[in-house]
């Protein structure tokens, strides 16, 4: 049982390689995320950005390389792996709320079944996070009765309930109506201001400019460029990055 190492960076990817069948999706990825750092990952579709963050909480397994979360690396013991991934909250593009449970039950779900917290305490905690994402009044509804933006904010509250130390966002605004994107981004900005370590895959360049400590650009399974937002947007080094930015900005 490897314990969390004090002072170890929250996320370390060292020489990460992954294949889907014969297709080489991730090529020698090296990435180190510091405590409280906000990373925005962008790149064309199929560049491996989603796969990379899904590797961080082992929704995808990798074939080569090491992933360390607070100094602990994933291994063969599934319980140990589950313990590591409980440090990590994840928000998905398609929300993935549980449609058969109410908003409140979605939020208390992991508290009840993973943390074994008493019902009342779990509900109080869940309500405090629903208040934080500004939808406490929807607690008794079912997810499909909410708008996309509201659902995604519930998903953020649900991920926060278990008090993760790292939050991963996999294109959180890509399936939202244009008018709802901002309500989700605002929630994420607030979260960033609270000092959470975040890795965000997104095409929202405004968000990257405003919040990111570092922007990472990926293409064809590689990290092409990584730089602070001013440098990234002001003076990208590679032609590939410039081409991409000229398309999205």
């Amino acid at each position: 049982m490897s314990e969390a190492v004090a002072g170890a960076p929250p996320i370390e990817l060292i020489g990460l390689n992954k294949w889907f069948g014969a297709f080489h999706v991730l090529k020698d990825i090296d990435l180190r995320v510091q405590e409280g750092e906000r990373i925005v990952v962008c790149g064309p579709s199929g560049s491996g950005k989603s796969t990379m963050i899904r590797c961080i909480n082992q929704l995808e397994s990798h074939q080569e390389g090491t992933i360390r979360i607070h100094g602990r690396s994933y291994g063969r013991d599934p319980r140990e792996n589950d313990a590591i991934r409980r440090e990590i909250g994840m928000v998905f593009q398609s929300f993935n709320l549980f449609p058969h449970l109410t908003v409140l039950e979605n939020c208390t779900f992991a508290l009840t079944w993973v943390r074994h917290m008493p019902k009342q305490e779990a509900e109080d905690l869940a309500m405090s996070f629903l208040t934080r994402v500004r939808i406490p009044e929807q607690a008794a509804k079912y997810p499909l009765q909410l708008s996309g933006g509201q659902q995604q904010r519930v998903a953020i509250a649900r991920a926060l309930c278990v008090r993760p130390r790292i939050m991963l966002f996999d294109e959180p605004t890509s399936s939202l109506d244009p008018e709802m994107i901002n309500e989700v981004l605002d929630t994420m900005v607030e979260l960033a201001e609270s000092g959470m370590t975040m890795v965000v895959v997104t095409h929202e360049m405004g968000f990257a400019r405003k919040v990111a400590d570092r922007v990472i650009f990926m293409d064809q399974g590689e990290i092409v460029e990584e730089a602070p937002p001013e440098a990234f947007f002001g003076a990208p080094r590679y032609d590939r990055t410039r081409l991409f930015l000229s398309q999205v900005l």
Binding site: N57, L59, R85, S94, H100, T102, A110, L144, Q145, R158
Partner: protein
């Protein structure tokens, strides 16, 4: 915006958009007559189809009603009397009425029939709390019903000698029944299960958690002791399964088949999807084997070939053989239904559960299965209905289910040749049961999805 100089370039102030209030949809002005004209007589062919259709329906029901009610004979001593009175123009119901006890209970001894009725009553009372809104322990009650009711009922049906182990199991069934009744009452009235209610009622509220838990266990044990004493006092004569028959036998076989097939189907479906090659191979083989063979063949195999594989002297009851065959057959079908339901659940649901730190079993049991079962309700109930009707096939291995019992009426010397009327009667029973199941599934579907639609 500095380059666009000059006051003329300032945009006019924005007009305010006020959404119009929504209006009611215009009411339908059609009326009954208009609706009929529009939908049934809109053109010559349409009118023709309507007239012919109504005539066919009328002619059919007129003939049926004339036979079954209008010209029917209700009192007679034999089929001869019926024929003398109305010939073949009307139904001869006295034969069916005289045989009703046999159609329902088979050849079960008349003075012991109360045992079947009692079991039916216990089943209803046991299941009733599942529909009471204030009862919280529905999962426990449902599980105890499926697992322990058969223990208790099988003694009521079979009777005879009971050894120590068998007595203990029967008492367990009875205790679970008593617990269900008491809990249903205390939860409805006080919102507490019987054990916790007893603890509170006895004034142990202030004691430590440990003491209260011990007392709660003591209450449960007390219920079990009462059940043991009751079972000891109960001594029922043995009724061999070969005299079981009629609707009773049909319900026993299909009830056990239904109760077994769903859990077994879930296990098989998960097995087939398993990443462990051996488990997946075994499940797939089992499912494909039993799905590819007609139920009749399986019944024959179990009936005639199973004894050949068993050691000499070991005899497996004929009814039990049929029940096992029906269970395995329906489990294989159910497995494919469940697998279809599982495939309809998006991968993201499993990923979300997994990202929260839930293991495979928790994710499957708490997230995937509840959603999958809900969308599978129509197909599951369809399978149950099929299973209920398929039990008629057990007649070929010499069991007298409802359908074969109905054929026995016409072989009775008094009612010789009376086949149509009992057949009609049995058809109505099958229809009522199956239609009831189908309606209940529709109702269940609507209730479960009520909160979750947009």
């Amino acid at each position: 915006m500095n380059h666009a100089a000059g006051p003329a370039a300032a945009p006019p102030p924005a007009e305010i958009f006020r959404p119009r209030p929504a209006r009611r949809a215009p009411p339908s002005t059609l009326g009954v007559q208009g609706w009929i004209r529009q939908n049934m007589f809109s053109s010559v062919p349409n009118a023709l189809v309507t007239v012919i259709g109504i005539w066919i329906v009328y002619a059919f029901f007129d003939a049926l009603f004339g036979w079954a009610v209008g010209n029917a004979v209700w009192q007679a001593e034999s089929r001869r009397e019926c024929l003398d009175e109305v010939g073949r123009a009307g139904a001869c119901w006295p034969g069916v009425i005289a045989w009703i006890p046999n159609l329902i209970y088979g050849l079960y001894p008349k003075d012991q029939v109360w045992r079947i009725n009692l079991a039916g009553l216990v089943l209803l009372l046991w299941a009733a709390p599942l529909w009471l809104p204030r009862v919280q322990s529905k999962v426990q009650i449902g599980l105890s019903l499926v697992l322990l009711f058969p223990l208790f009922a099988s003694y009521l049906f079979l009777g005879g000698e009971k050894g120590i182990v068998w007595s203990a199991l029967i008492a367990l069934g009875l205790a679970a029944f008593l617990w269900t009744l008491l809990t249903a009452v205390t939860e409805t009235v006080f919102g507490l299960g019987i054990a916790r209610f007893a603890v509170a009622a006895l004034g142990f509220g202030g004691q430590s958690d440990e003491a209260r838990r011990r007392l709660a266990i003591a209450v449960l044990l007390a219920i079990y002791v009462v059940a043991v004493i009751a079972v000891q006092a109960l001594s029922l004569p043995f009724v061999p399964t070969r005299v079981w028959g009629g609707l009773f036998l049909t319900l026993v076989i299909s009830g056990i088949g239904i109760a077994f097939s769903l859990p077994a189907g879930i296990v098989l479906a998960l097995g087939r999807r398993s990443r462990m090659p051996l488990i997946s191979l075994l499940s797939t083989t089992f499912i494909e084997l039993f799905r590819s063979v007609p139920l009749i063949t399986i019944l024959f195999m179990f009936n005639t070939m199973l004894p050949l594989f068993l050691p000499v002297g070991v005899e497996v009851n004929q009814l039990l053989r049929a029940i096992v065959a029906v269970c395995l057959f329906s489990a294989a079908y159910m497995a494919e239904v469940v697998r279809g339901g599982l495939q309809a659940i998006p991968r993201g649901q499993y990923e979300a559960a997994s990202a929260m730190g839930l293991g495979f079993w928790q994710a499957t049991g708490l997230v995937i299965m509840p959603q999958a079962l809900k969308i599978m309700i129509p197909t599951i109930v369809g399978n149950f209905i099929g299973l209920f009707k398929d039990t008629t096939l057990v007649s070929i291995v010499g069991l007298f289910d409802l359908l074969s019992m109905s054929r026995a009426v016409g072989e009775d010397t008094r009612w010789l040749g009376l086949f149509l009327e009992p057949f009609f009667f049995v058809t109505m029973i099958y229809f009522v049961v199956c239609f009831g199941m189908s309606q209940y599934s529709l109702n269940l579907e609507q209730r479960l999805s009520a909160g979750e639609r947009r």
